[in-house]
Symmetry: C2
Subunit: 444 residues, 2 copies
Amino acid sequence: MKNILLLGAGLSASTLIKYLLEHSESENWHLHVVDQNLELIQSKLAGHQRGTAHQFNALDSEARKPYIEKADLVISMLPAIYHVGVAHDCIALQKHLITPSYISAEMGALDASAKAAGIVIMNEIGVDPGIDHMSAMKIIDQIQAAGAELLSFKSYCGGLIAPISDTNQWHYKFTWNPRNVVLAGQGSAAIYKEAGALKYLPYHRLFQQTELINVPGYGQFEAYANRNSISYLDTYGLQDLPTIIRGTLRVPPFCAAWNALIQLGLTEDSYTIKNDGTFTPRMLLNTFIPFKDQRSVEQKLAAFLGSAAHLLPLFEEIGLFDANYIFKATEASPAQYLQELLETAWKLGPTDNDMLVMYHEFIYQKAGLKHKIESSMVAIGSDQRFTAMSDTVGLPVAIAAKLILNQSIQKTGVTLPVYKEIYEPILAELAQYGITFNEYETTI
Amino acid sequence: MKNILLLGAGLSASTLIKYLLEHSESENWHLHVVDQNLELIQSKLAGHQRGTAHQFNALDSEARKPYIEKADLVISMLPAIYHVGVAHDCIALQKHLITPSYISAEMGALDASAKAAGIVIMNEIGVDPGIDHMSAMKIIDQIQAAGAELLSFKSYCGGLIAPISDTNQWHYKFTWNPRNVVLAGQGSAAIYKEAGALKYLPYHRLFQQTELINVPGYGQFEAYANRNSISYLDTYGLQDLPTIIRGTLRVPPFCAAWNALIQLGLTEDSYTIKNDGTFTPRMLLNTFIPFKDQRSVEQKLAAFLGSAAHLLPLFEEIGLFDANYIFKATEASPAQYLQELLETAWKLGPTDNDMLVMYHEFIYQKAGLKHKIESSMVAIGSDQRFTAMSDTVGLPVAIAAKLILNQSIQKTGVTLPVYKEIYEPILAELAQYGITFNEYETTI
């Protein structure tokens, strides 16, 4: 019997645990789950005889070591910064490790040690990163195998709300950490490459310069650029590719309205405004719109928005004009006050389903003709436990665990699923769970 | 005979030293000047028998103490962060101190100690802060003495280039630290108050929302808001004033063109771009403008600028289209690359004269009628030593020194020139040096 040790039983682990238990008889596994929240583990193990709950702090290296020692494979669903600590233990104890997170510089530096220990440390094998790598590399490898030249690769992904649960004008609810959503894109400019030239896009233009795409059956989405698309050139072995851009998907008119919040200054997080106990959303908004004598806040905002004034109802919907609600925070950044409003306006309801949309566009040239391949995947959550996020993160991790334990994957070292021997069986099995890509090829 | 100790003989000290030496016979003073650059001191003392140069590091507390001990009054022209250290010494040795800089929290905390020591620590007595306080308080006190109600106070100041030396389309050259000019306004939003409401203006809108003013004889200027105008309400005792805004002056179309640089992202300083030895201004610019197939950099910038496309010659003038110049920096932020270009384009020539413009606008109400007072001052430098900056910083400091030493000013503690007994004699004497305000009053 093989032991699998899962560190962390949080949101993204539901589908992962379900898969591992469902395959535990046929594969002869026993699943050990560590979390500080015993009830949470027990609710997910649901009394399965091949699952055991262990209640302790998985960040405690000494406490977890005996469990790693007894395991054949470790899965870390801890926050990304803790993976390296687990990796050190796994190298010392010669146990395989899977994490869904990006390979940090520190993690990358462990490659030789992992190889020497004869273990694989498989990373970036959730959805984004994960399914994006696998589905993109499949097509990139096909194009290159056919002797064609790849000219452009654009890849977008978004954690959204299912059409059936889409009940607001922003077409968005929080299926993810609200603070990360409010601060998305702040800091360095986004970096991408277009027609051979490096491009920097500063934060204050990020939600202006968006790209519209169409996903068959799901309508229009718009993408804003992610932080650094350039690093993917190395990941995918495409150093000379003239155009690469990665982005995040929203449903129109989200980006235009969010851009207005940025232009107003309402997403700024570098300073605080005091709330003397009378501070309302209307006052917050008025603080950021230019003075015009005798005009209401609505009129001033409409003047500020100019050609985007038709978006006014979106700002009303999130409560920005509210003169009765008093902010709970006593001193907060504009972004934090905005988040307080949005957490109410964009709260996921108990019966809401999330949706994950992924879209790749490849342009390649062969025999003088240019071709475009569009490849898209839509996953919709079943409920608030088995969300699209939990499915698309958990299934590739679980399948990778199976393939490592049954030695279908024999690669060692610090790696990620950009290799055919890894992505091919995983994509094939994902398709059995309904995670499939629709591909359309046209000549352009 | 009274001894004056001057710490620092840099750019702003020329006129100060000249005044002190010119008055040294009649007032029976001896001036001791400390700087690490002996030649600099000697060139400014010009062999005057009542001046002595001391070459050592004025930041060295032990080295300067014996000199403070022998002095009757100390003037610190050191960088602002060092004034508090000097103040501690002056309190311990019971010597008066003058600094042209803003009262920091630490300096303000020394008020009681300074009073106990029987000394005055006079701050904010250069031009901005300094002449701005004095010229504004004179009118504010007049308005209040007349029983009128002040409704609005706007105050702008700018270090510019004299019309005779104005030879570029930006109407600007560096008379001040270039890095501070390039980064002006970054960080927290600007804060001001308009019609009773607090207003925040984020950096990316700072150079869009400007105010045009007219200075008789000098034409139009435009002002962008300074960091925090609200703190002046306390300084001037005007806590209930509905409108206050302070700003920095430029000559149109500077602000519109600078706004375009901000929108492009060229003033960003939070990340760096590598220069592989081929990086030109044209490449830098192209990095920040959206891709358009088959268009030149000039055409893409014109498209980006839209209705501001007429500003294209200003960007050409600073060399942004240059495809031959290779940046010297090997890795720098966009702001640093931009500064490298501007230091050439906006270099002060050996015969150029600087210009300092100050403008106040007061609106007050009396007997149901609204009145507007505009008050403006223009100072033009004589040469590159006796600049407008050196005159307007040095003269108020020097006059304050005289008034303290002859006991016309008897105030003690940490203070600044917002009191009639201080500003009245200083403004009167400044007028003898041509630093005068033109006042226009109209009913509105």
